[in-house]
Structures are given as C-alpha cells and as structure tokens.
C-alpha cells in the first residue's frame, strides 16, 4: 500500500511520518499546494506548526489545496490519519468533531504518555487487539492539545465507540475532556490523535515501537490481511 504524507509550510514531523509509514508500506510526501493525491491508499496529516499556527492551530492549513483533496478523499471513504497539528487541521476542517484548545497548564509539554486503546475494532487500532497490545507508550509534545467537544457530542462519541485512545490515569497533562487522546469520525475512516505514533517506531530513538501499531492497523485495513508478526514492533 502507499501512504501520502502532507507537507505544509511549518510542518516538522512529516519526515518521521514518512519513515514510520515506510516501515509498513510505501510512502511519499505531498506538498500542500498540490491537489493530486497520486493514488495513495491512505493520507497522513503530520505534526508541526502549519502556516505558523497563526490565528488558531490548523485554522489556515484546512484551506490548502491538498486539504481540499483530502476532504474529497475522506468523503469517498479513504483512510486519513491526523497526528498532533494534523489532528488540529482535521478538526478545523470539520472532518473530526470537536476542537483542540490550549493545554490547561498553558505550557508546551513534551513527554512520554501511556495511552489506553478504548476501541481496537477500527481501521486505525486493529493491530492493538489482543493481550498486551491495548496500551501504547508514545511521546506527546504540544501546547494546544486539550480536546473539547460539547456534552452532547461527547456522549455521542462514547456511545458510537469513536473514542479510540485515552490518556491512562495520570497522563492527561493537557486537560482533555474524558481523557480523550484520539477520536475518529462516525464512519471510522478519519482518525486524529495528539500523541505521536510516528516518533515511536524505532527502539533506538523512541524506546518503544508501539506507534507502529497505528500504521500497521492502517495497512491491515487497506490490504485486508495481517502480515508476518515480525513486521509489527513488539510492545515496550
């Protein structure tokens, strides 16, 4: 399968996202001014500070030509993963419910977080099913990560199983409602999370390869079958 990784002016995690995607398939960068997603099977909207995060994080990036193509791609059922700034962009584009607000502690925070997989029966988390796989240790680094949605939306998200990842007890440093670290849309083909799975794909630099499970899940969803277990990083 082929991943397309968007690149905006101000993106900074697109190369790690490219590397992570290449651990499970092919991947190429797509510049924000392009409208052609070049036949990719899944899109990653990476982390960083697109367009300087001016106005609000993600507010301007959502109008990029490449994002118009991504909205169309998502409407046709294509898989879209938004990481950190990418999550903010997907919320601003209304592909995902809710909004990301400044951290409750008003600080840019960079730390390893423990996440609980709240729903492992999705295109983004299916490789997290099974004993020992339902908890992820991956880094988070952001200043605007407090997930907010109104009470009614939160109730709907919970009822439909759209909350895929939650901060484990003691790890919700940004004040997200319901400890939400990642949510998907109602159809289940668009997913955003604040922590960075693409930074946890190599033991050498991440100390954990748990992030691979998100990319591997997407590969399984596209190709329809699990690959040899060796392709999937072992739990930390």
């Amino acid at each position: 399968m082929k991943f397309g990784v968007l690149q905006f002016p101000g993106s900074c995690d697109e190369i790690d996202a490219l590397h992570a995607a290449r651990r499970v398939g092919d991947a190429e960068l797509i510049w924000h001014a392009e409208r052609d997603l070049r036949g990719t099977d899944a899109i990653v909207v990476p982390g960083g500070f697109s367009y300087g995060d001016y106005l609000r994080a993600g507010a301007i990036a959502r109008f990029a030509p490449a994002m118009e193509a991504v909205v169309e791609f998502a409407r046709e059922g294509g898989l879209v993963l938004g990481i950190c700034n990418g999550f903010q962009v997907l919320c601003e584009a209304r592909l995902l419910p809710g909004a990301l607000l400044p951290n409750a502690n008003l600080r840019f925070t960079s730390r390893q977080v423990q996440l609980e997989v709240a729903n492992a029966d999705t295109a983004f988390t299916r490789a997290c099913a099974g004993a020992g796989a339902a908890r992820l240790s991956i880094p988070a680094k952001h200043a605007w990560g407090r997930y907010y949605a109104d009470e009614r939306t939160l109730a709907e998200l919970e009822r439909r199983g759209q909350v895929l990842l939650r901060y484990a007890h003691g790890h919700n440093f940004n004040g997200s409602l319901h400890d939400i670290a990642g949510v998907c849309n109602e159809r289940g083909n668009v997913f955003g999370l604040m922590p960075h799975p693409e930074h946890a794909v190599e033991e050498l630099t991440g100390g954990s390869t748990d992030g691979l499970r998100i990319f591997e899940s997407m590969r399984m969803a596209v190709e329809g079958a699990p690959r040899a277990a060796s392709a999937l990083g072992s739990a930390a």
Partner: protein, 69 residues
C-alpha cells in the same frame, strides 16, 4: 472583530491573568477572559460575519462580536 472563548469553556489564560492581577495589588477582579482582536479594512462589511464563521473564529469554542466604525 472581538473573539472570545465561549462561556463555560475552561479559559486557562483568563484564569492566569485573574490570579496575576491581585498579586499586583488590583483587587475586586473577577470573570477575566482573554480573546483576540482582528482589525481590518473592508469594502463590504456584509462579509464580516461569514469571515468570522469560516476563518477568524471557531464557532464551536468561540463567540465573536463585530464592531464597525
């Protein structure tokens, strides 16, 4: 355009300012909220509302007020 966090949504910036003011001797301060001001010249002020809805504010979490002069 004056853009403010919606009532009821945690506003840590407003809270931080509210804590800082008494420390400087300003008493009796409550309900502090910090927002944004967007200033612009425009030929057709009829567009301002749409500008706020589409870009300048996020209506999910922010209220906006349009002031023309």
């Amino acid at each position: 355009m004056l853009i403010r966090p919606k009532a009821g949504i945690l506003d840590p910036q407003g809270e931080a300012v509210q804590r800082a003011l008494p420390a400087l001797g300003f008493e009796g301060v409550s309900d502090v909220h910090v927002g944004r001001l967007v200033e612009l010249d425009v030929h057709d002020p009829g567009q301002l509302r749409a500008m706020c809805e589409k870009l300048l504010a996020n209506p999910l979490v922010e209220d906006y007020e349009i002031v023309t002069e």
